[in-house]
């Protein structure tokens, strides 16, 4: 009897599993929008270990199959696990070799099921995911959160982007944005995020997906100007705050 109990605690049986209670290495905002020919998505390449900017070259935008593009913020190892699920999903889909393929809507719904299922096990995948794609001339852009909340929209942003980028997008987004205008708008959002989100880094990628497929840009930096007086003395005019 005693030895049995000892065995149980050593092998950690079903009644004491450790679940993800907080994330370790995280990526910050992803911003995405629909434009004339498809979807544009942007994210920086930082990986934060707590508040330490630990990694500087993490790719957080990935193509999924032929018609979809996935961007992730949150726990980076959980993102890698999600990518494994999706690789398998797309592989088995291709193995049918029958002319049918999973489009962005299907992948988005699959991710919703995975996220919600894990949250119900009290073991969530600590991410907010953005899924965009084009199939048969149909543009698709949606989001899933770590607890399974999901929706579609013309433009989306995760994390800090929700507070800082969405208002800009609401003001300036149009249905018929060209590629150049779209990139400009995303860069505007990313610049604001870079200034105000302490875990953002100045190294980002922009990806586009159209009927022709996915292209992800090389990493690059935004021009910045830190000489604004508000940056130099942020408490001026805000007496009584920090």
């Amino acid at each position: 009897m005693e030895s049995n109990q000892a065995k149980n605690s050593l092998l950690s049986s079903h009644d004491n599993i450790q679940r993800t209670q907080y994330p370790y290495v995280t990526g910050t905002s992803v911003v995405a929008l629909k434009y004339k020919d498809g979807i544009l998505m942007a994210s920086d390449m930082g990986g934060s270990y707590g508040s330490t900017l630990r990694y500087k070259s993490v790719e957080r935008l990935k193509p999924i199959g032929k018609h979809s593009l996935l961007g992730a913020s949150g726990e980076l190892s959980d993102f890698q696990e999600i990518l494994r699920y999706l690789d398998e999903l797309i592989l088995y889909d291709n193995m049918w070799d029958d002319g049918n393929s999973l489009g962005p809507k299907e992948v988005h719904n699959y991710l919703t099921r995975v996220m919600y299922n894990r949250r119900n096990k009290f073991d969530p995948l600590w991410n907010t995911l953005v899924l965009g794609g084009v199939k048969k001339g149909q543009k698709y852009l949606g989001m899933v959160s770590m607890i399974g909340v999901n929706f579609e929209d013309d433009h989306v942003a995760t994390g800090f982007g929700n507070h800082l980028a969405r208002p800009i997008l609401r003001d300036e987004w149009r249905e018929d944005l060209t590629f150049e205008e779209g990139v400009k708008l995303l860069e505007k959002c990313m610049r604001v995020l870079l200034y105000r989100d302490r875990s953002a880094v100045n190294k980002l990628q922009i990806a586009k997906i159209t009927e022709e497929g996915v292209t992800i840009s090389q990493p690059y930096s935004l021009k910045t100007f830190w000489g604004f007086s508000a940056f130099q003395n942020p408490t001026v005019g805000a007496e009584g705050s920090w």
Binding site: W96, D98, N100, L102, K105, E106, N109, R113, K136
Partner: protein, 286 residues
């Protein structure tokens, strides 16, 4: 004493390379009342003959809706058919839950065929005694498949299974070239005429047949009796028994009238032919 040494269980080969139990299962399909299917680019029509076992009973249902985009018509053991339809329904629902989109027809058919195949390779099982015509729509268009107890499946433009199906097959073989561009209504008419071929003498009435349609913008549904009777009357009354006429469009009418006479003799010829083929050929070829 023994008629056949090699047919006592499913997994035993005959020296000629045949699996008799599997072939017997395919015979069961031929015993069942006929079911037919045909398709155009955008629509699939399934039809079947309803035969009641006795004066005192109603007939058994032979056409099942699987999902909005898929339906089946069966011939053979109805009980097995119901089990397989239930399986197909649940596969469609599960796919819909995960991907929020309809399960491609071809994939469902492969899963179904794999399920049937397992029964031909397990000593403690028996093959399903039912043939299924699976009609449906997906992103690559309209499809019609035939699923066999042997685990084989085939895609068809038009096909018929069950008793006296050879006559319907002959009718369909003569007409299928035009099916791809057929309108929905012409397809239904051809379905009814093909069903009539299997009746041998008996008159076609809505009470002895069922017709179902699935197509672009039209979820799978069984046509109600009045609709079917109206369609039958449209070509029976107008042209008399032998020459259906006065159908809405002239081209189809001409074609229908032309081959109606021919189809009559053909039917007789097909009957002999059917008997001949059924005897000699190994049912595995189906």
């Amino acid at each position: 004493m023994f008629r056949n040494q090699y047919d006592t269980d499913v997994t035993t080969w005959s020296p000629a390379g045949r699996l008799f139990q599997v072939e017997y299962a395919m015979e069961a399909v031929k015993q069942g009342s006929a079911a037919i299917g045909l398709r155009s680019k955008t629509h699939v029509v399934l039809g079947c003959v309803n035969k009641a076992n006795s004066e005192l009973t109603s007939h058994q249902k032979k056409i099942f809706k699987v999902d909005d985009h898929i339906g089946v018509a069966i011939a053979g053991l109805t009980a097995d058919g119901r089990v397989l339809s239930r399986y197909m329904r649940s596969e469609c629902i599960n796919y819909g839950f995960t991907y929020e989109s309809p399960l491609p027809v071809g994939r469902l058919v492969v899963q179904l065929a794999d399920k049937a195949q397992v029964c031909t390779q397990r000593s403690w099982k028996r093959p399903y005694g039912v043939g299924l015509l699976v009609g449906g729509l997906d992103e690559s268009g309209a499809h019609l498949y035939y699923n066999c107890p042997s685990g084989n499946y085939f895609e068809y433009q038009a096909f018929a299974i069950g008793s006296r199906s050879q006559a319907a097959k002959t009718y369909l073989e003569r007409r299928f070239n035009s099916f791809m561009d057929s309108s929905r209504d012409d397809l239904i008419k051809d379905a009814l005429l093909a069903i009539r071929e299997t009746l041998q003498g008996e008159t076609l009435k809505s009470s002895i047949c069922t017709v179902a349609v699935v197509g672009a913008g039209e979820a799978f549904h069984v046509l109600d009796n009045e609709t079917v009777q109206k369609l039958i009357d449209a070509f029976e009354i107008a042209g008399g028994e032998e020459a259906p006429a006065a159908a809405p469009d002239a081209a189809a009418e001409e074609g229908g009238a032309a081959d109606q006479g021919a189809a009559a003799d053909q039917g007789a010829a097909a009957a002999d032919q059917g008997a001949a083929t059924e005897e000699g050929v190994a049912p595995m070829d189906i």
